[in-house]
């Protein structure tokens, strides 16, 4: 295991300690060592934004804590949903009295733990509503979209919800825009290698050299197909062929593209892939309004990429353009 760690069962705690120390201008710890928050949270009169999930996805989830982004995050073990207590504590750290939007991904553990946390928070009189991201197209057919996992599209949901809350939206409005963001988003991953959970000590799974796993999940959940590794142009075509018809995205649509590496794929390759995706979208008459290319939502050192495409309307465009200051996503307002 070629890793910079001390002890495999301490990776999450030590990572959090390092993260808090490295970013005092944005992040602060809380009484629960598995809950981090934006240093100014809860922000008076602002709806709180909470998320959470398993670790190993840096910059997700804690990297999206920040100004006009996420207020508090519940941190789980590697690839493991945080327990209800952490979600509950995160909700409490984020609530200013205006309520909390909990925006997370569709995994059975997270669903159960969030549900319990919401019950606990409701008992405290905190208004909490949730949006469950299910942008990962290959994880279930369109007829069972509620079974689909949440992947990198979650970032666009946080961005939209975070901006809306910062603009002064109330809980219903924040939930509505976060819901719209994820409903308008479709994602799909392609994996080129496995990754190693430190406590397990050996690769989770593997992708044979010369092959690729089409539709892979963020924890290495198997894809829809294992094929021969194809040139970037064909990979891009495959991704678009899955994503575009599903919403569907049509000629004339304006979209945000988020192309995230899964960990060890050099960013250079993401741009090569992006170059092909851009050609396909522009040939289809779809206009790219803004693109994010880089390691936005990873799976430890897995090789591969996730493409997420979100259809914009005026409200989403405004939210996407809004200033944001977090480790994972930082942008000036003026596009």
């Amino acid at each position: 295991m070629q890793k910079f760690i001390n002890s495999p069962d301490q990776v999450v705690d030590e990572m959090l300690q390092g993260f808090i120390k490295a970013h005092p201008d944005l992040i602060s710890g809380t009484d629960n060592e598995r809950v981090l928050k934006y240093k100014d949270a809860p922000i008076k009169s602002k709806v709180g934004i909470v998320t959470g999930g398993g670790s190993g996805h840096k910059p997700a989830f804690i990297g999206y804590i920040g100004k006009n982004m996420v207020d508090a995050v519940a941190v789980g073990e590697i690839f493991t949903s945080p327990p209800a207590q952490m979600f509950y504590d995160a909700i409490r750290e984020a609530d200013s009295g205006e309520g909390v939007a909990i925006l997370y991904g569709n995994y059975s553990g997270d669903n159960m733990n969030v549900a319990m946390a919401m019950e606990m928070a409701a008992e405290d009189g905190i208004k909490v509503q949730k949006v469950v991201a299910n942008d990962d197209v290959p994880s279930a057919p369109a007829t069972e979209a509620e079974k689909r996992r949440g992947v990198a599209g979650e970032i666009l949901m946080w961005k939209a919800g975070g901006a809306k809350a910062a603009m002064g939206g109330n809980l219903d409005q924040v939930i509505a825009v976060a819901k719209k963001a994820i409903t308008n988003t479709r994602s799909m991953g392609v994996g080129l290698s496995g990754c190693t959970i430190p406590e397990v000590g050996h690769s989770n799974f593997s992708v044979e050299p010369g092959k690729m796993e089409v539709g892979i999940g963020h924890h290495g959940e198997p894809g829809i197909e294992i094929t021969d590794l194809e040139p970037a142009a064909k990979v891009a075509r495959r991704m678009c062929d899955v994503i575009l018809p599903d919403l569907p995205f049509n000629k004339g649509d304006e979209v945000v593209v988020l192309l995230s590496g899964l960990g060890s794929t050099p960013v250079m390759e993401l741009y090569i892939l992006y170059n092909e995706i851009e050609k396909i979208l522009s040939d289809t008459g779809i206009r790219i309004y803004r693109s994010f290319v880089g390691n936005y939502f990873t799976s430890l050192e897995m090789a591969g990429a996730t493409l997420s495409v979100m259809k914009l309307d005026e409200e989403l465009r405004e939210c996407i353009d809004y200033e944001a200051d977090s480790i994972g996503l930082r942008q000036f307002h003026n596009k």
Binding site: I78, F79, T80, M112, A115, V200, N204
Partner: protein, 213 residues
């Protein structure tokens, strides 16, 4: 009909903790075949935390089960935390206030824990999960009570049903959890949650038998 005291009964939880700790690697290895290989790690973490809590604050069986359930639910996360958490908490609630625990108490507790679990998990028999162990075990126990079999036989039959259930997962195609999307490829391997669940029910059986010996 034989019984044991709630007080003595806490040793069942001691045995559960030991058996999970001893089977950490085994459970992770099974999970590694079609899951992410951490089931033993997750379970061991929870049960070991429970050990620490009980060392500080020991008590009777229902207390110990409550501490176990609470620890799993609040500290472990994943799907296992809430699932086993609800299970053990419901088990505890059902035994609460009872000085002596007999066959029917265990049966009632098992049934109510399974019901609690079903509130949060939609898994059915055949989905290749811990439910493939729990549901038949619960039914075997109910049947034994109906037939008015002795406590020993009742728990033996329960453990036997658990083992059969566990082994039945080998040929199933996973429909829930991490291995679900392996589809066909998930066949041929035992489900990790089924394995841990069977281990738990077998250990409970052994514990009961020792207590009523």
């Amino acid at each position: 009909m034989k019984t044991f005291t709630n007080k003595e009964g806490s040793q069942i939880v001691d045995m559960l903790i030991r058996s999970i700790q001893e089977n950490k690697q085994y459970l992770s290895d099974i999970d590694g075949e079609i899951g992410d290989g951490d089931h033993g790690i997750n379970m061991n973490k929870g049960f070991t935390l429970c050990r620490e809590a009980l060392d500080k604050e020991p008590g009777d069986l229902s207390h110990s089960l409550n501490v176990l359930g609470r620890t799993l639910m609040m500290k472990i996360g994943g799907a296992m935390g809430p699932l086993y958490g609800s299970f053990f908490r419901a088990f505890s609630r059902s035994l609460e206030g009872k000085d002596n625990i007999g066959r029917d108490d265990i049966q009632a507790a098992l049934s109510s824990s399974v019901e609690a679990l079903q509130l949060i998990s939609k898994a059915q028999v055949g989905d290749k999960t811990m439910m493939d162990v729990l549901l038949p075990a619960k039914e075997a126990m109910e049947l034994a009570v109906q037939k008015d079999l002795p406590f020993e036989s009742a728990v033996d039959l329960m453990a036997e049903a658990a083992r059969t259930g566990r082994d039945s997962t080998v040929n199933m195609e996973a429909r829930i959890g991490r291995s679900a999307r392996l589809g066909e490829r998930s066949k041929g391997v035992m489900d990790a949650g089924a394995a841990s669940c069977c281990l738990i029910l077998e250990t409970m059986t052994a514990g009961v038998r020792e207590l009523i010996k």
